[in-house]
């Protein structure tokens, strides 16, 4: 542990990287809310500084093998010690760069997207808050500190999802996201306390060292790991708590891009990667994580196959890709999971930002409408969308291909072939739904009326001109992300070296892995693409997916496997009519009843005492005589030592 030294350049850079967005938030909220351009400029400047600092750190520490920890003691109880500070190691540095980069691009993009919104300054303030929370989360040196920023991330995403608070559905979605992630966070907190009680120090390095296995019995270790994983499930929208993420679409599209790629949901997987050695101490827990990741991936992919809302498709794909990362991590592929997290951040932000251009231009989320409206005429967004969908589907030159291969390789080494089979199925489904959207957008059915004139009053002329005006802020982030998506895959080697170092403690050896795997995966994703083309793309296609032909499955998938219904049922019947009713009755009968009994008793006693007060002077005299006699008897016998 290195003590704080003010002259330490790295340390100053870290502080600069994390705190500038906070200052931007405070300044905007306190001072510059009325001046839109100044607010946006402050926020952009802050995040640009942050991004620059993180790049500097990345370059400076590229070859540093030992994790750097700058921390100071925050709380010291008798046996417990809670440090507070920064932890710089390859994962956090990589994540920091991704977060700040995506935040920067999204904020630039928002200049155009949010232009003219009455809450423009507020939007940028929240964006800065979000950036601050996420960068601090990434660099947290102890689990408790991480938890604090974890909650702040949840808060700021709530604020941004419910940004258009006049819209009822938006506030509902914000609330849903907040409450559902909170359910996971309770479990996280319990796990944290369990660790704190047993290990006595929530520093991440401390927890990850092998000592914690000695300090905790294995049953408790597994239990704590599962509890902490509950937080990940909530944050990363995994199986039981997955339904908040599709509803989070109610926020502005750039917010979705941020939420889905680098910040909110990525925090969950990041925590998994962060505590990977800790989780790896418990094989049982890892098995359960693998199962949950698989279930979420398959469920979400099937949901995405029937969704008509473009943002919802990408939301489902986020859940499924996060499930994929968790599968990879739980199977022991540390690098694979982190690498997929990195590449996914790039291409998912790209997907959302492209969709944002379409939505901004045509004011609808429905893919069929967008296709008819002529989405294919916006050249650059379409190209970017193709690149991103290719990456999502795992096609070779794009980044998604490489990271998916890594995860599949990790899965192939896992205990049971069923996980690998599920992973391959996921690859197929992903390719299918990604290209389903693409085919619907690019090849509208229009046999006769190609120029899309008569599509229900969506006159494209004025909107096109407006889009023209703000196009530069739209286009540049897209182009940067396209390059990122194209190139990131080829940095697999250096990144692997950076993350794992020389000592290959956590390395899953991909080298002598069966050569058939990449080809199978490629074949499957091509099959998915082909199927999508046959059903939606080619001339005279039925434009009806194979799932949609089976009414039962279509219903099941589009109702999200009835998970929301289940939650409704649960909240309505068990919470509202069960517990709440019980508590209401307790309130009415026990508490109110006892208070009423007390007051009634007082009243009755008063009446009784009033009955004694007859107003007759002789009774009072009688009483005072009697008292005098008794007292004198008492004192007489007491003093004469009698009785």
């Amino acid at each position: 542990m290195i003590p704080f030294r003010a002259e330490d350049a790295i340390h100053m850079t870290v502080i600069l990287a994390t705190l500038t967005p906070l200052f931007a938030f405070l300044l905007i909220m306190l001072g510059t809310r009325a001046r839109k351009n100044l607010s946006a400029g402050l926020s952009l400047g802050a995040i640009a500084i942050s991004f620059g600092c993180s790049l500097l750190l990345l370059a400076r520490l590229w070859n540093v093998r030992e994790p750097l920890e700058y921390s100071t003691r925050w709380v010291a109880l008798n046996r417990m010690e809670i440090p507070f500070g920064f932890l710089l190691d390859p994962v956090s540095l990589l994540m920091l760069s991704i977060v700040t980069l995506i935040c920067l691009l999204v904020q630039v993009y928002s200049l155009g997207y949010m232009a003219g919104d009455p809450g423009f300054s507020r939007y940028y303030a929240f964006m800065s808050l979000f950036a601050w929370a996420m960068t601090s989360l990434v660099l947290s040196s102890s689990l408790l500190q991480l938890f604090i920023f974890w909650e702040l991330v949840g808060l700021s995403s709530y604020l941004l999802i419910g940004f258009w608070y006049e819209k009822f559905s938006a506030t509902q979605a914000g609330k849903k996201a907040f409450v559902m992630t909170r359910a996971g966070d309770v479990s996280f907190l319990l796990g944290l306390i369990l660790v704190l009680v047993h290990v006595g120090n929530p520093a991440i390095l401390e927890m990850n060292s092998l000592d914690s296995a000695g300090l905790m019995p294995s049953g408790i270790l597994t239990f704590a790991a599962l509890l902490i994983f509950g937080g990940i499930v909530g944050k990363s929208a995994q199986f039981p708590l997955m339904t908040w993420l599709p509803d989070a679409m109610e926020g502005p599209t750039p917010v979705s891009a941020l939420l889905h790629s680098a910040t909110m949901v990525a925090a969950g997987v990041y925590l998994f990667a962060r505590l990977f050695p800790f989780f790896a101490l418990s094989p049982t827990a890892m098995g359960i994580f693998l199962f949950i990741g698989t279930v979420s991936m398959i469920l979400a992919s099937t949901m995405a196959m029937v969704a008509r809302d473009i943002k919802q498709v990408w939301a489902y794909s986020t859940i499924s890709q996060l499930g994929f990362m968790i599968m990879g991590l739980a199977a022991g592929g540390y690098f694979a999971g982190v690498f997929h997290l990195t590449t996914h951040a790039g291409f998912k932000a790209l997907l959302f930002l492209c969709s944002g251009v379409f939505i901004h231009t045509w004011h609808t989320n429905d893919i069929f409408e967008l296709g008819k409206g002529g989405a294919r005429r916006l050249k650059i967004p379409v190209i970017a969308l193709v690149v991103a969908a290719g990456a999502l589907a795992g096609l070779p030159p794009f980044s998604g291909f490489f990271s998916k291969e890594a995860i599949l390789a990790a899965l192939a080494l896992s205990s049971h072939p069923v996980w690998l089979a599920a992973g391959l199925l996921g690859v197929f489904l992903t390719a299918y739904y990604a290209f389903r959207v693409l085919c619907i957008l690019l090849f509208p059915p229009s046999a006769g009326e190609e120029p899309s004139g008569p599509v229900g009053g969506l006159a494209p002329a004025p909107k096109a001109s407006r889009q023209e005006g703000s196009s530069r802020t739209f286009i540049w982030p897209l182009i940067i992300l396209v390059f990122l998506t194209l190139l990131l895959g080829f940095f697999q080697g250096p990144l692997q070296h950076f993350l794992l170092g020389e000592g290959k403690a956590l390395l899953v050896d991909h080298g002598e892995q069966a050569g058939w795997l990449p080809f199978t995966a490629l074949f499957l994703s091509l099959a998915g693409v082909g199927l999508a083309w046959v059903e939606f793309g080619r001339c005279g296609a039925a434009r009806l997916g194979f799932v949609e032909r089976i009414p039962f499955l279509r219903e099941l998938f589009s109702q999200r496997w009835y998970l929301d219904h289940f939650y409704h049922f649960f909240v309505d019947r068990i919470v509202d009519r069960g517990f709440s009713k019980l508590f209401a009755q307790n309130d009415n009968r026990v508490i109110d009843g006892s208070i009423e009994a007390v007051s009634r008793g007082t009243l009755e006693a008063g009446r009784f005492l009033a009955f004694l007060q007859s107003g007759m002077i002789q009774y009072r005299l009688l009483v005072s005589f009697a008292v005098m006699v008794l007292l004198s008897l008492y004192f007489f016998y007491r003093d004469s030592g009698g009785f």
Partner: protein, 100 residues
């Protein structure tokens, strides 16, 4: 001293009890005042007897005070009774229950 101290106390006690009985049972305000006077005089007898028994003059002094208090008490009490009679038209103590 011819009369023994015990007899004096006995007399005083009996007088006192008679006064108490009168005060508590008679349904007439004048009789209640009368009972109180009897009790005061019983106390005075006890004081005189005690002064003689212990050869001390304080008892006699007390009796002078008691007589003065009895006189004032009677005058104030009779005034109150006259007032009560004017208000309620009777000497019954149960009719003076405005404070109830």
């Amino acid at each position: 001293m011819i009369v023994p101290f015990g007899h004096v106390l006995m007399l005083a006690g009996m007088l006192f009890l008679l006064g108490v009985f009168c005060t508590l049972t008679r349904r007439n305000l004048v009789m209640i005042i009368l009972g109180v006077e009897v009790m005061l005089n019983a106390a005075a007898i006890a004081f005189v007897g005690a002064a003689l028994h212990w050869q001390s003059l304080e008892g006699q002094a007390f009796v002078l005070f008691i007589m003065a208090i009895a006189a004032t008490e009677v005058s104030v009490g009779l005034a109150l009774i006259v007032y009560a009679y004017r208000r309620s038209g009777s000497f019954d103590p149960s009719s003076c229950n405005l404070l109830r």
